[in-house]
Symmetry: C2
Subunit: 254 residues, 2 copies
Amino acid sequence: MDGTIAVVGLGYVGLPVAVALAERCGNTVGYDISAGRVAALRAGEDETREIGHARLTSCGLAVSDDPAALEGAETIIVTVPTPITEERRPDLTPLQKACETLGPKLRKGALVVFESTVFPGVTEDICGPWLAQASGLRQGRDFALGYSPERINPGDHVHRLETITKIIAADSDVALARMRALYGAIVDAGLHEAPSIRVAEAAKVIENTQRDLNIALMNEIALIFDRMDISTRDVLAEAGTKWNFLPFTPGLVG
Amino acid sequence: MDGTIAVVGLGYVGLPVAVALAERCGNTVGYDISAGRVAALRAGEDETREIGHARLTSCGLAVSDDPAALEGAETIIVTVPTPITEERRPDLTPLQKACETLGPKLRKGALVVFESTVFPGVTEDICGPWLAQASGLRQGRDFALGYSPERINPGDHVHRLETITKIIAADSDVALARMRALYGAIVDAGLHEAPSIRVAEAAKVIENTQRDLNIALMNEIALIFDRMDISTRDVLAEAGTKWNFLPFTPGLVG
């Protein structure tokens, strides 16, 4: 890859991407809004435990909490979280702040890729205009948009960035070719090209929804069986003998 | 097996059980409330297409719509449906009618096994008393209860009665031993003994609920994506590239 790569957001999603890009493509900077996170990473400490000390200190990744680090990057990957509001609606504030921070640093010809979980349309209809507004550049002409949903399974050292098939999608064939080169360099499991950014966004939403719904069902079942003095563990052991029963268990996320 | 075996209800669940028992244990009668169904089966025609003509006519199963056929059976397997009412509550009427038909024919020492999908407690707290009432016999002393949830996947010729692990549960160790012999004779995939009838009932309920919920999610998703002009087929193809995405699709039952 030519030109600087910047990763915005160095949590459990962004850090593995930034480290892998630094190792395999070089010339990668990581930006995070948290000075504490950046200081810890500089000391080789990743509190999310995705990246070990030795790898973090030897990968060549530059990290910073100064937006100046984003200046002139050719490719920017945004991995900020998308929480929900108290009313349980999507909270796009971190995305908006990322676009407002990044926009003024954006150069012509840049590709901005989002990895955050969003409802279909957010990348092109909301983030693109935010970037255009903050940069004074034209979406789709002066800068391109891409989307590649993160599939990190926190704490899972078998299914990692490198070993999970990654979806890529872009707003043009040229941008898609750039994403193919970018992610192809770090994802050994291979890429899957979605027909549109919206389809890729939708796929990520239903992946999360399906998982959450199945865990929620187990939680409801556990509540009901507790009241009936039936052991949920026993019931799951029985149901698990059916060839197509899905082994979800009660819990917060799994 | 000694003594007559009777199967009450010859739908897509009961017929395969009755045919397999007739073939492997002999001395099996099948009872169905529908004279039309019985006439068709006698002619070798199974409209559910679970059992072919040749097997049906050669298995040795006697079928009848006369409750007298149930007289004196040592083991009775009840496979009647459990629909829902207009208010979407469980409709136990077919189970109640089966118990009222069967009760007067029940002999001392009989084992009555239910395969119907029911909420936990129905076999022992509802069907048992119905049988006691209709027979004048004492539940647990004069007759025993068992439960073995059906796992038939209609139209699936790979996952069949013989090839699906079957849960068995009973109200006593003696009854469980009888069920082990009974189902062990026809289920090649092996049996799984539940610690109680209630646990086995609960396992069946969550198997169905999990499947229904996942299909319902896909139906909801398809409705939403249609309104957004996003192809659900495309989205499912993308999501399906994740190692743990579950390949449910929109539909009525699958």
